[in-house]
Amino acid sequence: MKRTSPPRRPKNGPRIASPRSKPRRFYGHGIPGVDLEKIAGKLIVVEGADGSGRSTQIARLVEWLEGRGHATVQVGLSRSTLVSEELAQAKNGNILSHTTLSLFYATDFADQLENIILPALKSGFMVLADRYIYTLMVRDLVRGIDESWLKNLYGMALVPDAVFYLNVSPEQLVQRNFSKTHSLDFWESGMDLGLSRDMFDSFLQYQSLVAKQFLRLQSTYGFSIVDAQRSVDQITLELRKKISAVMAGK
């Protein structure tokens, strides 16, 4: 009888390193019944306004991570099974008041946190989040919602391994939005705030209010501010370098 040797890893195949684990925590009370010890994957958040290059960078990071042998999952705001449809409906009609809309978004976030983010992390996936609680908090802060109320509410959120804020000046954002769609979004222009009846004006004012709140939250939540006015490649390289450090447990 001929003996067959067990299949072996090709000698030249690269060794794929699993990410180093680090102690995890929630911002506040967290989610009841979740064991953080079991979380192996990494949560990487990319924040920034529409047109700051979030989705481009996330797509590139996914490619890079998968190339290095890591499984990835992507999440974003208002994509939950539970309330995303109703949320879209509410936004279209601009019919909900602030606290209500805020809680609706929080419900959407919680649903994705519990049903996608946490299970994926437990299975060792790299989770790339296109926006996280910070966008939600900033939008509400600009609209006058109490900060301590928001901190309590989002105490349910898991502290990510890295948060990158893609910083682009409002003037640059306008140009990027126009080159893409030739129009400005109602909500991204903060039209509900009544800052100006002129959408262009309102967009600039609103985006600088948002940026100001982001920079203010930066000291509390410690995100990396990435200068996103540079070339796409330069930004990708910076993100890769920082994520490599995160993977090494730094």
Binding site: G28, H29, I31, P32, G33, T81, L82, V83, E85, E86, Q89, A90, I95, L96, S97, H98, T99, T100, S102, L103, F104, A106, T107, A110, D111, E114, D146, W149, N152, L153, G155, M156
Partner: protein
């Protein structure tokens, strides 16, 4: 937290709380009729009834998609919608607002489901306290019997099946309601509940309710028009 009177609202808010089957909805209905027949400006609002949010809630319930956290948040969303768009404007306009369940329902249920109590209370701290809260305290067995007699098909979340207390819905419902009752009793003093013995006849309870409302609230101030002489 302050009541609407303490916040100088011209209107007043009266809430009823109690277990399912405690008879609170009957009592608040009779209170509403009494106030309306005097020609007063009255508005009635029910827990979990905001149109837009209801669609999401019922989907979540039907498909059993809700966790304790999302259960809590979606009910808070519903409450906020009614609070900001109906209750507050009506209270500003000098209405007597009657609520079948208020924030205490969330405090009790969500805590039993395992949400941190401080988190839940923090979420609802945008709401003012009722000027009067009636708690209908029925014998647990009596409440259970009323529900089980009338509607033998218990719903998943209503029976607290999500808590995995028992595989039997009836047994689960019993344990769940018992725990909610404990939570209510624990809040009773802190939030100055007017405790009504719900084991008494409907009429006796309603007399007490009307007496207390008449004593606490200067009803003539809320008159929309003069009623016809009886």
């Amino acid at each position: 937290m302050k009541t609407f009177a303490e916040m100088n609202f011209p209107g007043r808010l009266i809430a009823v709380e109690g277990l399912d089957g405690s008879g609170k909805s009957t009592q608040i209905y009779l209170l509403k009729r009494w106030l309306e027949l005097q020609g007063l400006k009255v508005f009635f609002s029910e827990w979990n009834s905001s149109e837009l949010v209801k669609a999401a809630t019922s989907k979540g319930k039907k498909r059993e998609l809700l966790s304790p956290t999302t259960f809590s948040l979606i009910h808070a969303t519903d409450f906020a919608d009614r609070y900001e768009r109906q209750l507050v404007p009506l209270l500003r306009a000098g209405y007597i607002v009657l609520c079948d369940r208020y924030i205490f329902t969330a405090f009790a249920r969500d805590t039993v489901r395992g949400c941190p109590p401080e988190w839940v209370r923090g979420i609802y701290n945008f709401a003012a306290l009722p000027d009067l809260t009636f708690f209908f305290k029925a014998n647990l067995e009596v409440s259970l019997q009323r529900i089980l007699d009338g509607r033998p098909q218990l719903k998943y979340f209503e029976a607290g099946m999500d808590l995995r207390l028992s595989a039997d819905p009836y047994e689960s419902f019993r344990i769940f309601q018992g725990r909610i009752l404990e939570q209510y009793l624990g809040m009773s003093t802190e939030f100055k509940f007017m405790v009504i013995d719900a084991n008494q006849p409907v009429e006796s309870q309603q007399s007490i309710v009307r007496d207390l409302v008449g004593a606490k609230i200067e009803l003539v101030r809320f008159r929309a028009h003069t009623p016809l002489a009886a």
